[in-house]
């Protein structure tokens, strides 16, 4: 069964009314994956046996007349940088070969606690470093709308799995746009919550001051539902925020009054694709039609965001990835010739090109003589970017931009030019640097049939407002 035409709450009510059995639906999902994933290649690992076992367990609960949980029997896919007990976590890297976590990430555990069934682990750029999913050490994922194009990244497998109807929900992680940009390229909804909203226990760290987990789905409503399940304090993550989680679904359809949306003038960059610009301008008109007040705002340090990001993220990555040294995880090379040699040989063989490039850049930015000029300066520019948003949020409630300056690019187009790949994140990066929640919503397609996404950003912990405004747009636009 393809999941393109059904939503999570509809599916659960069909189960509850015994119109569909969970086992037949989950079996159907794997048939669909068999048919579709040979082209899309979204999954690294499938969890067929355990998924069917869980499906049978829910079916017997239904037979006994039990009331189902919010996501009972709903198929979900998990980006393969999150731990699921007894299933390999690869991070798209050779260096973790053979690693099987003995525990489950909190976000995944909470979804499973609400009844969701994990169908598989999805492909990603190695250690979430990339914008196209081409940096996976195993294979590139393709955009379900056109197999010659990338799905975006780094959570490209998760976005593609939902877009192709191989899963209803997926989890991704977003450090500089890794949920929102693939959501935009694949024509689905993707949200990065406020920094600290979702526990990162069991998420493999890339850049710890930026990383955040969030969901993909076909609709804003489903994202809101998943978010109200996965958000919230977790004693296992010292950066998890102890802030109350509102039931995001409750008022999502209710109209909003006097909401001001700021459109930053700095986002109209010369490199923006004219079709993206046109759809974004249409999207602004949709909000005007809904009674929102649109105002031009200025975020003056936008131009410096990519530079600040690639110093901060790579510096943190160079530290986080120091643990992959052949002692604790997966691959080990050169163990016979001494410790230092083993470290270097293991890392040379285990890491792919982009990961090495980022470790080198981050190490350089942190090294003696360059720390002040690069890393410290980037941290100061980060303060200015945060201040830009704080100033903006004194006048507006939300900020509205395209998600990416272009639609999906061709496979291979940017792989040998890392700088041009980095610049494809230009609209999503500021949100991570400022720790804000951001959502990408589909806003039509270009003439070639590739999806275009628009992005709403909210102030810290304002997910409820963000989701409501996104939901209104989705209703009005479709």
């Amino acid at each position: 069964m393809n999941l393109r035409d059904i939503t999570a709450d509809k599916l659960v009510s069909l189960y509850q009314n015994r119109d569909l059995s969970v086992t037949e639906v989950i079996a159907g999902v794997f048939d669909e994956i068999d048919r579709t994933d040979k082209d899309v290649r979204a999954f690294l690992t499938l969890c067929k046996d355990r998924a069917l076992e869980e499906a049978r367990r829910i079916d017997s609960k239904i037979a006994e007349g039990e009331t189902l949980d919010a996501l009972s029997g709903v198929p979900v896919a998990i980006k393969d940088n999150m731990a699921l007990r007894d299933v390999p976590t690869t991070c798209g890297s050779r260096i973790l070969e053979g690693y099987v976590p003995p525990y489950t990430a909190t976000a995944v555990e909470r979804l499973r606690g609400a009844g969701a069934i994990v169908v598989g682990k999805t492909n990603l750029d190695e250690f979430a470093m990339g914008s196209s999913t081409e940096n996976s050490s195993f294979f590139a994922t393709r955009n379900p709308h056109n197999f010659d194009y990338v799905p975006g990244g780094s959570s490209g497998g998760s976005a593609a799995a939902v877009a192709a109807g191989m899963s209803l929900i997926a989890l991704g992680s977003d450090t500089g746009g890794s949920i929102r940009q693939p959501a935009s390229f694949c024509g689905v909804v993707g949200i990065k919550p406020t920094y600290g909203r979702v526990s990162r226990y069991g998420l493999v760290a890339y850049a710890s001051s930026l990383d955040q987990i969030g969901p993909f789905a076909k609709s804003v409503r489903e994202c809101a539902q998943v978010l109200s399940i996965v958000c919230g304090f977790d004693p296992y993550d010292s950066t998890s925020a102890d802030v109350p989680v509102e039931p995001f679904l409750r008022d999502i359809e209710q109209p909003l009054k006097d909401v001001r949306i700021g459109v930053p003038k700095e986002y109209f960059i010369p490199g923006m694709d004219p079709e993206v610009k046109a759809r974004f301008e249409d999207a602004i008109k949709v909000y005007e039609g809904l009674g929102y007040r649109i105002e031009e705002i200025s975020l003056p340090h936008t131009e410096q965001a990519v530079a600040a990001y690639y110093l901060i993220a790579t510096a943190e990555a160079s530290s986080n990835l120091a643990r992959y040294d052949g002692v604790r995880y997966g691959v080990r090379k050169g163990g016979e010739s001494g410790l230092a040699d083993m470290y270097r040989k293991t890392r040379m063989n285990g890491f792919g090109k982009e990961v090495k490039r980022r470790i080198l850049l981050g190490t350089y930015a942190l090294s003696a003589g360059y720390y002040d000029a690069y890393y410290l300066k980037a941290l100061k520019v980060r303060t200015l970017i945060l201040k830009d948003f704080q100033n903006a949020f004194e006048h507006v409630d939300l900020v509205f931009t395209p998600t990416s300056p272009t639609t999906a690019f061709r496979i291979g187009e940017k792989i040998d030019d890392p700088l041009s790949m980095y610049l494809s994140d230009i609209f999503t990066i500021t949100c991570n640097l400022a720790g804000l929640p951001g959502i990408s919503i589909p806003a039509g397609k270009n003439a070639a049939g590739l999806p275009i996404g628009v992005q709403l950003l909210g102030n810290h912990f304002q997910e409820a407002l963000l989701l409501r405004a996104a939901c209104h747009f989705e209703r009005a636009f479709c």
């Binding site: 040989k345 890392r347 470790i359 090294s367 941290l379 100061k380 890392p418």
Partner: protein
């Protein structure tokens, strides 16, 4: 600032990475263009700006009582492997 092949070699050593000779030239070129790009930060006056290392300092982050409360016991860890074999990490001078 131009990154030379010698710089690549030096930074690789700091990062415990080994870079093949044919990779050094390519990396030096790519890192040079990235470093030249990030040097646009020099255009910004940050003389009176404090650095941001954590975005939400107002939020009370998670702390728990200092009691042993393992979510994953050693018995669970041992399910995937029978024993942990590590290479010799202490060497004689």
């Amino acid at each position: 600032m131009k990154i030379t092949e010698a710089d690549v070699e030096y930074v690789a050593k700091l990062a415990n990475l080994e870079v093949a000779d044919d990779e050094k030239k390519e990396l030096a070129g790519q890192l040079s263009s990235i470093v030249e790009y990030v040097e646009q930060l020099n255009k910004v006056d940050v003389s009176s700006v404090a650095p941001t290392t954590q975005i939400l300092e107002t939020v009370k982050h998670a702390v728990r009582d200092d009691r042993v409360a393992a979510r994953t016991g050693t018995a669970d860890a041992g399910k995937t492997v029978k024993y942990f074999k590590v290479p010799k990490v202490i060497t004689e001078r």
